[in-house]
């Protein structure tokens, strides 16, 4: 397994992530195990033990310390990778803010899992969506191949903009499902991902320090600069996704439209549910219903303009949220409503709480919901569906 293959391999989503990490050659990889992220860690430690990965592997006592080490390593000019899930991500919360404020370029993989309590280990995106105000770039992946490709693209993006990036895929549905994955050649990745050379870092020759207490105006300015960087993300990830496509034949966009061109109704969702939705759309089309799918790959920063352009003129949008934010409902639902607010020719937007807690959502379910809600009166609240 030391020999880097350039052909297809049968990989789980998590092992595809480990392969991506290996190809990106992070200088430092602080890792703490948690179900269902653990296979990512174990494959990396396997690579490391076998000498196939030269990274400084750091196995601290908590995700909190893992993220602390990520931040300081990144500020020291190191390429940094880590992975977590659910409770681990929530434990990091304080530091997720810190990582962005420090303008690090950390790439983190998160396996979406229900947060406790009660204890559960099921696919649900609340863990990462709850971090939406931290300022991390958030990307949601549908398949093992996409997870691999997105990790590689994220390093390019993060290191260019000095914004940390979190890529997410759903527990088990993606993390543990196996498919043939094209693992690109190391040379290809080396050519695609330039060395990390931040302008500011902890450099003994410079002696400049980061994180000293500041005044109100400087804090304010730091947020404006963060906003300016965020404004660049959507275009940048688009460019990077297309460049990757040119090299590998697999091109990526912040939003992916499936049969949306003449659609009367569009399903909007993220992550593994997109695959199921695609099947449902095909069925619906076969039944003569002009349905389409809008896959949200980039959730933060929210690609507002792209969403508005994609949905303008479509009569009905049905958002499937595999998460529940108490008091608000489905998070993507709320986000979409706010993006479309005041837009001309905006669709009516239904929000469905679908598969919260990891419940299985079948193509049949989606097909039924589309039929039902396309004609239904729009409720402002997200609706629980099964």
């Amino acid at each position: 397994m030391n020999k880097m293959p350039n052909s297809l391999q049968l990989l789980s989503g998590n092992h595809a992530v480990s392969w991506a990490a290996r190809l990106c050659k992070p200088d430092v990889a602080p890792l703490y195990p948690i179900t269902p992220q653990t296979p990512i860690l174990e494959k990396i430690t396997e690579f490391h033990a076998a000498g196939a990965m030269k990274t400084e592997l750091l196995t601290p006592e908590s995700e909190h310390s893992a993220m602390s080490a990520c931040i300081s390593a990144s500020l020291t000019g190191a390429r940094v990778f880590t992975a977590t899930s659910s409770q681990g991500l929530l434990l990091m919360h304080e530091l997720l803010h810190y990582a962005v404020g420090a303008r690090t370029a950390i790439v983190m993989f998160n396996v979406n899992r229900t947060p406790a309590s009660p204890w559960g280990f099921w696919p649900d995106q609340l863990d990462s969506l709850a971090q939406r105000d931290t300022g991390w770039i958030q990307l949601y992946s549908e398949t093992p191949q996409e997870s691999l490709d997105t990790v590689i693209q994220s390093f390019v993006l993060s290191e260019k903009l000095n914004l940390p990036c979190m890529i997410n895929h759903d527990a088990f549905y993606v993390s543990h499902s196996v498919e043939p994955v094209d693992v690109p050649d190391q040379g290809l990745v080396d050519g695609f991902l330039p060395p990390f050379a931040p302008e500011h870092m902890l450099d003994t020759n410079v002696g400049s320090s980061f994180g000293a207490p500041i005044d109100q105006a400087t804090w304010n300015r730091s947020r404006k600069e963060m906003a300016a960087a965020n404004d660049l993300v959507c275009d940048e990830i688009t460019k990077i996704g297309r460049e990757w496509g040119a090299l590998t034949g697999r091109s990526y966009e912040p939003l992916e439209k499936y049969r949306c061109d003449d659609a009367e109704v569009v399903v909007v969702t993220m992550g593994s549910m997109c695959g199921t939705a695609r099947e449902a759309i095909d069925d619906l089309r076969n039944q003569g219903i002009q349905a389409g799918l809008l896959k949200v790959r980039l959730f933060r920063p929210l690609p507002k303009q792209a969403l508005q352009d994609a949905l303008r003129g479509i009569p009905c949008a049905i958002v499937l949220d595999r998460n529940y934010s108490p008091g608000t409902g489905g998070i993507l639902h709320q986000e979409l409503k706010s993006v479309m607010y005041g837009q001309e020719n905006a669709p009516k937007i239904h929000g469905l709480l679908a598969g919260v807690g990891g419940l299985n959502v079948s193509a049949e379910n989606i097909r039924d919901w589309v039929k039902k809600y396309q004609k239904a009166k729009v409720e402002p609240e997200s609706q629980w569906v099964e």
């Binding site: 302008e199 400049s208 500041i214």
Partner: protein
């Protein structure tokens, strides 16, 4: 795409922040006199030269010493060392052995042949000095250093006065005396030996031929013990005894001698007599603990087998066939307010007899003032002088035992120095220097004793008693160099900056800067905490309130 410049990395140092504005007091460096300096009759910069010894700069130490006293070897042997009594270190453990260190430096100078620098200029003014004892020699030295022409008149055949004729060799080896005197004379002083200035008329004539005269003829008249027949063959005055024995002459006095008195001279007589094989008893008015001699002298005398009969007074003497009987009485002695003053009463039934062969009264000497009648007046038992040691005759100055009751060798040396400064100013107004005010001395509490761990004083080695009694070899032995350096290191160096860097290195604000020969406080940053003052081992920094 252009990278966003990050505004969050520091780009400058805290030096732009002037924390000196927080302060309400600023430290300053001060050189305050040490208590030893305050007590020293010659204003010897003791803290300074001890520091030099400790840093193994022995020549530097000698230069500092001889600025004030040309006799470090002598003073290091016989000074009554008020410096040691006043030493701040006595509050911690024991005084620094200053005398032994002065002797160390003085002896090193003699051994290595260090000479005084010649005067930088020759001046025409002529000064006559009458009396070649410690005061006269000290004055001669200080005046000659300043370029004046000095004629030194001594009544006896050799210079030294009391040093030569009063101090026994076991305390001061004569070769030391000779060398330290020779070194002074080598500066270019004209000496006139066997040249006694007999009376006021001679003095007047001398005054006419010189720009100024310094009179330091000492106290040559023995005090008389009332009721004692000085003409009796069993009585010999102490000064005569010491002069004779110091000159190597024999005195036929019989086996058992009674020395009357409790001062240094009495000890010198007793111990000299002991070395000449006599049995010796000391009879003193003072109780043992109040004997005016230095304690070491008393202790050494006892070691040498001298008997002490204290709190006792001689009432009469009866001469017999084989010796004499001294009829004595016990007294109740009460010291007075000033040195030398006392009151006493006889103890009822305290009469006792003492048999002996001879009596040597050693109760002190008086100045011979009558000789100068017409020129000089008396002020009590001494010649009247003003604050600058000038007598009531213009241009005639006086000092030493003639003009003071402070009858110590180093007091005389100090007086000679002070008179020389005054004479220089008198004959040459451009050389007037105001005597610096010694100022408040550094108190013990200003010393941070954390830097001065307790350490016993070097118990300067002494000759074994049996060896002492067989010769006039010096009792006190010199300190070896390593021990001297170590002993000098016990000095707190009160009030003198030792450039130890404590203030520089302790400042939490890096606000002490090194400058040539010391330190300065950077007022831009000093917050006025006073840590430098607290951690100064020598009490050389203080805080000054700022408005």
């Amino acid at each position: 795409m252009e990278k966003m410049p990050s505004p969050l990395w520091t780009n400058s140092t805290s030096l732009e922040r002037m924390t000196g504005t927080w302060r309400n007091a600023l430290p300053y460096y001060k050189n305050l006199p040490s208590p030893c300096h305050g007590a020293c009759p010659v204003d010897g910069e003791i803290a300074q030269w001890l520091l030099q010894v400790n840093k193994e700069d022995h020549f530097g130490a000698w230069i500092t010493l001889v600025d004030n006293n040309p006799f470090p070897s002598i003073a290091g042997r016989i000074c009554h060392h008020p410096c040691e009594t006043s030493c701040n270190r006595t509050n911690l453990d024991e005084t620094v052995g200053i005398c032994s260190l002065e002797r160390f430096v003085g002896d090193k100078a003699l051994a290595d042949g260090w000479a005084f620098a010649k005067p930088q200029e020759e001046r025409p003014e002529k000064i006559a000095i009458i009396g070649g004892g410690p005061a006269g020699l000290s004055a001669a030295y200080q005046l000659r250093r300043r370029g004046f022409q000095v004629d030194l008149f001594e009544a006896r055949p050799a210079l030294g006065g009391l040093l030569r004729y009063g101090i026994p060799a076991y305390r001061l080896d004569k070769s030391i005396l000779d060398q330290e005197i020779a070194r002074i004379i080598d500066l270019g002083i004209t000496t006139h030996l066997n040249a006694e200035v007999l009376d006021a008329k001679a003095l007047k004539k001398l005054r006419e031929n010189y720009d100024a005269v310094y009179l330091a003829t000492g106290a040559s008249k023995p005090k008389a013990l009332p009721g004692l027949d000085y003409c009796a063959d069993y009585v010999l005055d102490s000064a005569e005894f010491l002069a004779a024995t110091n000159a190597g002459e024999k005195c036929e006095l019989g086996e058992h001698l009674v020395v009357i008195g409790g001062g240094s001279a009495a000890m010198d007589v007793a111990r000299t007599a002991r070395r000449l094989g006599h049995r010796v008893s000391v009879l003193s008015l003072e109780p043992d603990e109040l004997l005016p001699a230095q304690r070491a002298e008393v202790d050494e005398a006892k070691e040498e087998g001298i008997g002490f009969i204290c709190s006792s007074m001689l009432k009469s003497v009866v001469a017999g066939d084989d010796g004499i009987t001294l009829r004595c009485t016990k007294i109740d002695f009460k010291p007075g307010e000033t040195r030398g003053a006392f009151s006493m009463s006889e103890v009822d039934g305290g009469t006792f007899d003492l048999t002996a062969h001879a009596i040597i009264p050693a109760i002190g000497q008086d100045a011979d003032i009558d000789r100068w009648t017409g020129m000089l007046n008396a002020q009590g038992p001494v010649v009247a002088t003003d604050a600058k040691w000038q007598t009531e005759t213009d241009g005639i100055f006086a000092g030493g035992d003639l003009a003071s009751m402070d009858r110590f060798v180093t007091q005389a040396i100090g007086m000679g120095k002070h008179a020389a400064v005054a004479i220089a100013g008198y004959v040459c107004p451009d050389q007037v220097v105001s005597q610096p005010d010694k100022g408040a001395e550094v108190p013990y509490k200003a010393i941070n004793t954390a830097y001065h761990p307790k350490e016993q004083r070097n118990a300067q080695a002494h000759l074994m008693v049996d060896v002492r009694l067989q010769s006039f070899k010096e009792v006190q032995l010199p300190l070896p160099e390593a021990e001297a350096i170590k002993e000098a290191g016990r000095c707190f160096t009160c009030g003198t900056c030792t450039l130890c860097d404590n203030c520089f290195l302790y400042c939490p604000d890096v606000a002490i800067k090194k400058v040539d020969g010391g330190y300065t406080v950077d007022a831009d940053y000093c917050k006025g905490c006073g840590l430098c003052v607290a951690e100064c081992p020598t009490g050389s920094i203080a805080m000054q309130e700022e408005s």
